[in-house]
């Protein structure tokens, strides 16, 4: 699904910053990958390049077999709309739109009929557990709810890959658990390919695989054992253990 070859990114400036110094890896379809590493190690930079939000300095990115760096700006925009989903650290929703409107916006841009996109997005809002918040304004939602709307928006186009850059950073423990379990469930139920940046070690246990970065390089790979993962899913980020 994702194949990265010798990806480099240098931020030009007075002092050029080599944020990615030649990164190569492959991610098969349906895998939930956590990206970890210290601050400034290039995690966000990597995600921006993969999600076609920025231009890498050199290297190759194949998404579902397509050499995406050869695409024009217009084509990249369209590719993002049709095939990618991105969840930002801050709840990056449009404040003038209510929850469901935020979620169906990509489908509207794709030209889907109104009845159809209402149906699809309503179903997805149910999946992220917000069926009772459809018509709330963003300002009326909690941080966790907002992040789930953002996830719904990122998935509503049946995106091939879901990118999430520290999606839980601004959430409390309970909401972290909700969001992480949701991502895990999406991967299990829909076979959703997920790339999630995090720097909390516990969070990586929800993933199948971890890519460790340091100083712009991929330095270590780790596969999460099934029982560790199961344990995280059941017990990770619980505030009220007895209720489970």
């Amino acid at each position: 699904m994702i194949k990265v070859t010798d990806l480099k990114k240098t931020y030009s400036g007075k002092i050029p910053v080599h944020a990615l110094k030649g990164v190569s890896f492959e991610i098969p379809s349906g895998q939930f990958v956590a990206i970890m590493g210290p601050s400034g190690s290039g995690k966000s930079t990597l995600l921006h390049q993969l999600a076609l939000l920025d231009d890498p300095t050199s290297g190759r990115i194949l998404l579902d077999g397509l050499d995406v760096l050869t695409l024009t700006d217009r084509k990249r925009t369209e590719f993002r709309l049709r095939h990618l989903g991105y969840v930002f650290q801050e709840y990056a929703l449009i404040p003038e739109l209510n929850a469901i409107e935020n979620a169906f916006l990509p489908l509207m841009l794709l030209g889907m009929k109104r009845k159809e996109f209402i149906r699809v997005s309503t179903e997805l809002m149910g999946r992220v557990g917000l069926d009772n918040r459809l018509h709330h304004l963003i300002s009326e939602l909690s941080g966790g709810e907002q992040q789930r709307v953002a996830i719904a928006r990122a998935l509503v186009n049946k995106s091939k890959i879901l990118f999430a850059d520290e999606p839980c950073a601004n959430l409390d423990t309970e909401n972290k658990g909700i969001v992480l379990r949701l991502l895990r469930k999406l991967c299990n139920d829909l076979g959703q390919t997920i790339l999630m940046v995090t720097h909390e070690p516990e969070q990586r246990e929800f993933a199948d695989r971890v890519l460790w970065f340091r100083d712009g390089r991929l330095v270590k790979e780790e596969y999460i054992a099934k029982d560790v993962r199961e344990d995280a899913i059941h017990n990770g980020y619980r505030t009220d253990v007895s209720s489970d």
Partner: protein, 412 residues
């Protein structure tokens, strides 16, 4: 394309319904005020100008004036001849209501109120003659008598004066006038051909058009005796039914065999006003320009603040795959909305508040009273200009922000 417009319209509708209502109201208010000031000031100037034209036509020279033209030495001191024959030709043309011939001769009018020779007032001004009956069709002087009576056909020792000659009655040029001749008083007229006559003031008129009120009239009979000529005229003024423009009737006159070279429409007789018309035009353009700048800058600032403060959201919209053109279109729709609603309210106020108000409370100009004259083409021009300006004002800021690199827009 259609789909993009629908998406832009969707965003725009949410900006309006879910955005800050105060901003919407204030921006629309500025657009309304800009539109109103453009069209009110235009309307007032057009009203004043229209009034001058109307006054010229109705109270001064009629629709068309025939003059003898220049003689072979370039002097225009000759008369139109065979006037009664000419008048018959003119009156036979369909659509012509009437015509009137005048003699005009330079003269000095003298007034000695207490007949002691101590306070002799004079004014040097042409005296004209009219056929009182014919003239009724043209300038309607008989409708404007402030005091005394209009002339009768057979009057010989009577004169009527506009209030700018007689003075009094609110004359605007009082200092140059005879400063208050009363009905029944005697004045002496020294005609430039050497003839001197004494007249009794029979009537004073005022059309409120100073140019028209600066004349003294005697009857045609009297003037022919002063000049010792017959069946001639210094000018013939013609009244039409206004069904066609003057140029049409001038053509008809020529077809009917009125072969004098100098046939001109009334517009040619307001030379001093034409300068005023040009000045009004310049002022109108300045007002239009300032109004457009005010509306344009306001909308620009509103859209600028909206887009800059939503820079991050715009970056996010692009990140999820929204085309820049959709974002720009949504803000152009917003700025057009401000302009369209502003214009709409402005039109309603213009039509149903300002126009009735100025009809009820006309403006006083030196040439008379006027209300607004709303010229459709000028209103249309101001509307089109405002729409264009608002498109530009919406386009520039939203285009600049939406063009920004996604990473920069979202993460600064």
């Amino acid at each position: 394309m259609w789909n993009d417009l629908k998406a832009a319209a969707f965003l725009f509708s949410k900006y309006v319904t879910r955005g800050n209502k105060g901003t919407v109201v204030l921006t629309v208010l500025v657009a309304t005020l800009a539109f109103l000031q453009i069209n009110l000031i235009s309307g007032i100037f057009s009203g004043a100008l229209g009034l001058i034209y109307e006054q010229t036509k109705n109270n001064y020279v009629g629709n068309i004036v025939i003059q003898p033209g220049k003689d072979q030495w370039g002097s225009s001191e000759e008369y139109i001849t065979q006037v009664s024959e000419l008048k018959r030709k003119i009156n036979a043309i369909p659509g012509i209501i009437g015509c009137s011939s005048h003699y005009t001769i330079g003269s000095v009018v003298e007034y000695d109120p207490d007949k002691t020779g101590k306070d002799i007032r004079t004014i040097s001004w042409p005296v004209k003659s009219i056929d009182p009956k014919d003239e009724m069709q043209i300038s309607g002087l008989h409708n404007y008598m402030l005091a005394g009576q209009y002339l009768d056909e057979s009057d010989r020792d009577q004169i009527i004066m506009g209030r700018e000659i007689s003075g009094g009655y609110g004359a605007m040029l009082e200092v140059q006038s005879l400063k208050g001749v009363n009905i029944g008083d005697e004045v002496t007229v020294f005609y430039h051909n050497g003839v001197t006559r004494k007249y009794t003031l029979k009537g004073i008129y005022a059309t409120a058009f100073p140019l028209a009120d600066m004349t003294a009239f005697v009857t045609q009979k009297e003037m022919e005796s002063v000049l010792g000529i017959h069946d001639r005229a210094s000018e013939i003024t013609i009244r039409t039914d206004d069904a066609y423009p003057e140029a049409y009737y001038i053509q008809e006159l020529r077809k009917a065999g009125v072969e004098l070279p100098d046939i001109r429409p009334y517009q040619d007789f307001i030379g001093l006003v034409l300068g005023l018309a040009q000045t009004f035009d310049i002022i109108k353009r300045i007002v239009l320009f300032i109004g457009l700048v005010v509306a344009g800058v306001t909308i620009f600032i509103v859209i600028f603040i909206a887009t800059v403060s939503r820079k991050k959201q715009i970056g996010i919209m692009k990140a999820i795959g929204m085309k820049e053109s959709i974002i720009v279109a949504s803000y152009i729709m917003l700025s057009l909305f401000y302009a369209v609603v502003g214009i709409g309210i402005g039109l309603v106020l213009l039509e149903f508040v300002a126009t009735p108000y100025f009809i009820a409370h006309p403006l006083l100009f030196p040439v008379g009273k006027t209300s607004l004259l709303i010229i459709r083409s000028e209103v249309a021009t101001s509307i089109i200009c405002m729409l264009i300006v608002s498109i530009i004002a919406g386009f520039i800021p939203s285009w600049r922000v939406s063009r920004e690199n996604i990473i920069k827009a979202i993460w600064g």
